[in-house]
């Protein structure tokens, strides 16, 4: 993954998903044996758990002030709503932070701090898929997986040495304290069994809340399809190097969803609507990654659901224009034309059409496109530059 940082409880990074498998037994929160799940309002009284929470509280205070936390009120309120729908009794115990990092990831800390990365929000296609992820993270929280892991690691290794190594590594280059924390936290990557359990809980929570169980397998299918479009050395990638091929696991996940049974809500329109203000940022950040093959797969999937979204057609055109392989110019122009046809193309669509036309030597068409851009965006800061380009 491009500049992925292994995060605390990297539950939904691909590795986590690969570990998901196994039988689904009914484990509704209400029906479980006493003590199986954390009680609502739980606070650790003493011992290592209290220390662990204190550490996470400190990190959370830092995160709260981070420039990478997305403040968009609509998006934050929405994620909170989904959380509370999944686990009303725990609604007050868990805080969700949307973190501006264009990669597919979410994480859960033992003190109730949940992180959802923007790359994940871009890739989810409906509320049921988002509920799958939040439910999975809640599973880690409810079963105190981090504490279990913390005790396990301490029992196995001289933790002080390990920690020292991690911090020394983190000291290189641009790592700030949040990044240092991430390294420390990677010591607590959840085990396969924990991932399996969280998945089981997640599926039950989302299905109990009325969502379509089939969404659980889809999230993983989409991510897997995306990896096929990566230019990174695949056989070196952690995804394929450390785990067997995922087909069989995906199959198990599908079966679990079928066994849970029944239709359910998708919430596709609501998902799109509630994250609408955030979407241009999500799209722009994805384009900025310059992972052309993967981005095209992502945008094409989203376009299949929303063929009238001018912003997404523009995004597809941008990826093609920036990649610039043979034939991409024509494909980019076709995508921009689709964007314009929706009636909802961003002004930059015309600027990009102009850039492509200019490169192809069609100066008149380029000038027309730049004029349309400047008309749609009168205050554009690059006006002078565009004029200079035309006069060259």
């Amino acid at each position: 993954m491009t500049f992925s940082r292994r995060r605390f409880g990297c539950a939904l990074c691909a590795m986590g998903w690969l570990a998901l498998a196994g039988e689904t037994s009914a484990q509704n929160l209400q029906g479980a044996e006493p003590g199986r799940y954390l009680a609502p309002g739980y606070q650790p009284a003493e011992g290592d758990e209290k220390g662990l929470w204190a550490l996470m509280d400190r990190h959370e205070r830092e995160l709260k002030g981070s420039r990478f936390v997305v403040r968009d009120p609509a998006a934050n309120a929405y994620l909170r709503e989904v959380l509370c729908r999944l686990a009303e009794r725990y609604c007050a115990d868990v805080r969700v932070y949307v973190v501006r990092t264009p990669l597919f990831n979410a994480s859960m800390a033992p003190n109730g701090m949940m992180e959802v990365w923007t790359g994940l929000l871009l890739r989810c296609r409906d509320e049921a898929q988002l509920a799958t992820i939040i439910g999975h993270e809640l599973g880690h929280y409810l079963r105190r997986h981090t504490l279990e892991r913390w005790r396990d690691v301490r029992a196995k290794a001289d933790f002080g040495i390990f920690l020292g190594m991690g911090l020394a590594l983190a000291g290189a280059g641009w790592a700030g304290s949040l990044a240092q924390f991430a390294l420390l936290a990677s010591a607590f990557a959840f085990s396969r069994d924990q991932e399996r359990e969280a998945d089981e809980i997640g599926l039950n929570l989302m299905a109990d809340a009325g969502y379509a169980p089939a969404a659980t397998a889809e999230v993983w299918e989409q991510l897997l399809a995306e990896y096929q479009g990566s230019s990174a050395a695949r056989d070196q990638s952690f995804l394929f190097a450390t785990h067997p091929l995922p087909e069989e696991r995906l199959d198990t996940l599908r079966k679990s969803a079928v066994a849970r049974g029944g239709d359910g809500e998708r919430g596709r329109a609501r998902y799109r609507e509630r994250l609408a203000a955030l979407r241009p940022t999500l799209v722009a950040d994805e384009i900025g990654l310059r992972q052309y093959g993967r981005s095209l797969i992502v945008f094409e999937k989203l376009l299949a659901d929303a063929p009238d979204d001018g912003g997404l057609w523009f995004a597809k055109g941008e990826v093609l224009r920036l990649r610039g392989d043979a034939g991409d110019v024509e494909l980019a122009l076709a995508a921009y034309a689709q964007a314009v046809a929706t009636g909802g193309a961003p002004p930059e669509t015309w600027r990009s059409i102009g850039l492509v036309e200019l490169k192809a030597g069609a100066r008149d068409r380029a000038e027309k496109a730049f004029d349309a851009y400047l008309e749609a965006k009168p205050g554009a800061a690059d006006r002078e530059m565009l004029k200079a380009l035309l006069s060259q």
Binding site: F3, G173, W174, G176, S177, S237, G288, L355, D382, M385
Partner: protein
């Protein structure tokens, strides 16, 4: 924070320590005309530190005043077609990375600006990056362009910067000065502007069109 090393006793100590260790990380740049990377002649107005082991790979030379975490001046000394602007050493050896975006001889300033922001996003692992106010400008005595930059790295520090560039003979020449927005950028803008005004292309770059 890295302690300032410009013109202080700390710098001397650091250099001494490095010399003892057999590898000087910085060498002193005195305020007199000099040629950078065999391509760009400039006249600094103060004492800079040249990084002997630049944190980035590519056709670059990196100078700093207060240490690379506080400010740095990256010279692009002829990036050829098909090469990235630079790749941080940390990313260069990682096979899991997607291929970096590269410079193309046929790129116009708008495309170079896009390439620049994508390069920053990747190398500093951030989505909070922007370039503004792109405009034509004379650069090293040739027609070029300039724009302002802004980004926040994983250390949460907001950094401001200015990029100047020109394409000659299909290669990109230019410089990017950036520093912590509070103090470490603005303080040196006059020095950087003066140096930019003094810049001339030399060698192959001077004769190319």
């Amino acid at each position: 924070m890295t302690p300032p090393i410009r013109g202080t006793g700390t710098a001397v100590i650091l250099l001494l320590l490095a010399a003892l260790a057999g590898c000087a990380p910085f060498s002193l740049v005195t305020p007199e005309r000099r040629t950078v990377g065999g391509a760009i002649s400039v006249e600094p107005g103060m004492r800079w530190n040249r990084m002997e082991m630049a944190p980035y790979q590519g056709r670059v030379e990196v100078w700093t005043l207060d240490g690379p975490l506080l400010n740095s001046l990256v010279f692009f000394t002829g990036v050829p077609d098909g090469e990235p602007l630079f790749v941080s050493r940390a990313l260069a050896s990682d096979p899991k990375q997607e291929k970096p975006p590269v410079f193309r001889s046929a790129m116009n300033p708008l495309e170079i600006e896009e390439l620049f922001t994508a390069t920053i996003a990747r190398n500093f692992r951030t989505a909070i990056v922007s370039a503004t106010n792109l405009r034509p400008a004379e650069v090293a005595g040739t027609p070029g362009f300039r724009f302002e930059t802004r980004f926040v790295g994983r250390d949460e520090v907001e950094r401001a910067g200015v990029f100047v560039g020109t394409v000659r003979g299909g290669k990109l020449y230019g410089a990017w000065f950036q520093g912590a927005r509070l103090h470490y950028y603005e303080r040196y803008v006059p020095e950087v502007e003066k140096m930019a005004a003094s810049a001339r292309l030399v060698g192959e770059a001077a004769s190319a069109r």
